[in-house]
């Protein structure tokens, strides 16, 4: 019984893996944002993404 349950569980895992591969799922953190106005192409600086203005120093000995 336990072995059968495990096999079903394993099939579910493999199925989920296949779906994730096919659909291109990732664990990347990103922000699915608002509707960006067409004018951004003419004036890129007018758009303020959530990650903008984040100036910092990283790395280095």
């Amino acid at each position: 019984m336990m072995t059968k349950l495990y096999f079903l569980y394993g099939l579910a895992v493999v199925g989920l893996m296949g779906t994730a591969e096919y659909r291109g799922w990732r664990l990347t953190s990103f922000n699915e944002a608002r509707t960006v106005p067409k004018s951004v192409r003419d004036n890129p600086g007018s758009y303020r993404p959530v990650y903008g203005g984040f100036r910092h120093f990283t790395g280095g000995k």
């Binding site: 072995t3 296949g18 659909r23 799922w25 993404p49 959530v50």
Partner: protein
Amino acid sequence: VADAQRRPPVSVRSVNCPNCGAATAVRTFGHAVNVVCQSCGSILDAANPGVTILQKFTEAVREEPLIPLGTRGKLLGIDCEVVGFQVRQITVDGVAYRWREYLLFNPYREFRYLTEYAGHWNVVSTLNALPDGGPTPDGSEPRSYGEQEFRHFQTAVAKTVFVLGEFPWQIRVGDTVTAVDYVAPPSMLSAEVDADKEVTWSLGQYVSGRDVWASLSLPGTPPPPVGIFANQPSPFRGRSGSMWRNAALLAALATMLWIGHLVSARSKQAFVQNFVFDPRPAQDASLVTPVFELDGRATAVEIETTANLDNQWMFVGYALVNDDTGQAFEFARDLSYYHGYEDGESWTEGSPIDTVTLPTIPAGRYFLRIEPEGDRTAPPVQYRVRVLRDVSTSLWYIIALVLIAVPPILASWRASMFEYRRWQESDHGSGGSSEDKDDDD
């Protein structure tokens, strides 16, 4: 069967105890050598028509059998009657361990025994043939009987501390034997060596208390088993083995899917362009790329940033914008690359290349809004942005393998712990457990 039907039915006679005068039933007739008075506990000589006292009961506390004498039933398919009861004891490291033995009688078969320790039961029969390796038990060497190999479990001096009922041999409280046990769950091979060096081999079969109660139609419920007995069958036996076989099958299936996806993923370059970023001016450096096509089904998109960083850092804010709908996917990347020479050794830190994958991006016409930032005292940076459509990943494959492996690992661990606890009770407690012959298969 016809021969058995011609035989007279089993009946009971009794003898009077010379010590207390109480009548004591004798169920085994000519088989009984000693009978124990159920009233005063004296051991009587049943083979003597005069019924003399062989040993008087001197203990302050009587042991009460869980199964009354005279109980009849069918154990392991054989009719039997409980006619004798004894309590035996071994002492290990100064601790006395007692178990109970019930003598089972069937007038047409050999005597058998039903033993009980801490709620664990065994039906024991004496062997008519010797196990491989000779008549004498020799230490901790394994022994074979039939097709099975038995591992040595314990050697101890067993002492009879209480008797009741009747026995087909001379029995006294205080009798001692050297008992040597070998196990191959659910079987147990035992040798008893008495003071005259006479060896008796027997084979025990583990049975559950529930089965004993059902077989003998006993009222109530059996005492619950405590701990793990020497030949108690592992509930995990074979389970982890079959789970590992299934795991191999599932892993093979996952590998096929993964390879299939690796082969079929197009990794199609949808966009590439080089840029120059000068961090020194204070003005905004944000820009947009030309529109490019992400075709096919909704799937992953990889954005690769490569910069010629030289002891500096760079921060890039991205927005992947659908030119038709305005839907944007915003994310940011940090790049830094430092290197040097210190204490006679070269060192580097960070990487000038960064890759990020966005999940399930619908097909459409897109452009990137890029907003680079950096150290205003650093020189200009050349960087390249590349967009790939329908890229593969090993992430889900690795996660699937881990998830597939976890249950059999747990099952193997539990099986191993069961065997460890079993062997902790043996003469080989500290080492002879799970690393030897495991439970699987």
